[in-house]
Symmetry: C2
Subunit: 195 residues, 2 copies
DNA sequence: TACATTTTAGAATGCAAGTTCTAAAATCTA
DNA sequence: TAGATTTTAGAACTTGCATTCTAAAATGTA
């Protein structure tokens, strides 16, 4: 009945999300987004309404695709401490180790708590990550230890993501992650002994 | 020989820094900065050159005044684990607990690693904080333990600052800080026993 | 007190960037 | 194949904002 779209929505949202991750929402110009996505402004506005609409779609794509997948793999129903450690270490490997951080973590700083175009994606991600970590810990070191450790691990997660934009040595951060998980391994051994 | 300035430079830089901390560099308009500082744009440009100059001055004021003071008080030459814990807990109290985070931590996300108007303040702060933490730990739990814990604590610090902009419960973060320091207290006891 | 100099004040300017608009191209359906 | 409809293309427009500019006000010095 009419002309069909010439672009792949997923690819466009991935490219746009990457541009937003690098430059932030405000500093990613439409010209930059045209370059990143390969679309011209007319197509962007036709497909997503405006810049905010493109951002919302890109963030949702990032959370439902990227974040959810990573949490499922590294903090899912059958993940243990070893997998959970990979959640952290994988942040320090491509594609996240390029020095631009994480779209969600960056958006927390750019948009804050104010209800807006990033609130949903941020809230959803915070819940996904916290609950994922909590479930692994509850399984591995018991509910008492989990209660104590969950927020520490959540804070470590966002600390790593923030400093990954600062030029801080990836190796130093890997060391900190390893040290944290060595402690959790000890916690697990202790917990298993009791039973 | 000429008209004198009618404003207090420190007060203006504190107000400007606060505006930048809330809105970020890009989103703090000159109009907003006029409101925050009480200066009119003519005075801002006369005194600081441009918006970037005002930001540089405000960031330097923030680092040399606020950050340096806090590190000296909570991670200085005669600080122990108790004081260091206050470095974290005080972030969760006024004036930093207003939900706008820390100017330096926010700038890490907004400006990244690219050399620019925030690089100096960021680098200086990262060094101050890391070395302050390292010196307390070396004293309190010994060099081996310190080596292991420093980066974990640095990451916890930035995790707290980042999530303090996310609406995450301050109480939950306090709990995580307490749990971390309980572990360090145990480390100190262990370390003191050996000697 | 008068002059020189700097700050304050706010209007005017110029530009960057988001958005809208017009026309051409493509594709589906009848 | 023709018509209807949607997408692509990019020029034109608008607005918001950083910056500049002009003039008045204030203050130190001679």
């Amino acid at each position: 009945m009419a002309r069909t779209r010439s672009f792949d929505r997923d690819a466009v949202l991935a490219a746009a999300g990457n541009a937003f991750r690098q430059h932030g929402y405000r500093d990613a110009s439409i010209a930059e987004l045209e370059r990143a996505t390969g679309l011209v402004s007319g197509s962007i506005y036709n497909a997503f309404g405006d810049k905010a609409g493109l951002f919302r779609a890109a963030l949702e794509h990032y959370v439902h695709g990227f974040v959810r997948q990573r949490v499922a793999a590294f903090a899912g129903a059958d993940a243990g401490l070893e997998e959970l450690e990979q959640l952290y270490l994988s942040v320090l490997e491509p594609p996240l180790s390029d020095g631009y951080g994480c779209l969600v973590n960056n958006s927390i700083i750019e948009f804050g708590t104010a209800p807006g175009i990033a609130s949903d994606g941020i809230a959803e991600t915070l819940t996904l990550v916290r609950e994922g970590i909590a479930s692994v810990l509850a399984r591995e070191i018991g509910s008492v230890g989990a209660e104590r450790e969950v927020m520490q691990l959540v804070l470590l997660y966002h600390g790593v993501l923030t400093l990954s934009r600062s030029g801080t040595s990836l190796e130093a951060m890997r060391g900190a992650v390893s040290a944290t998980f060595e402690r959790l391994h000890a916690s697990r051994a202790q917990h298993n002994k009791k039973q």
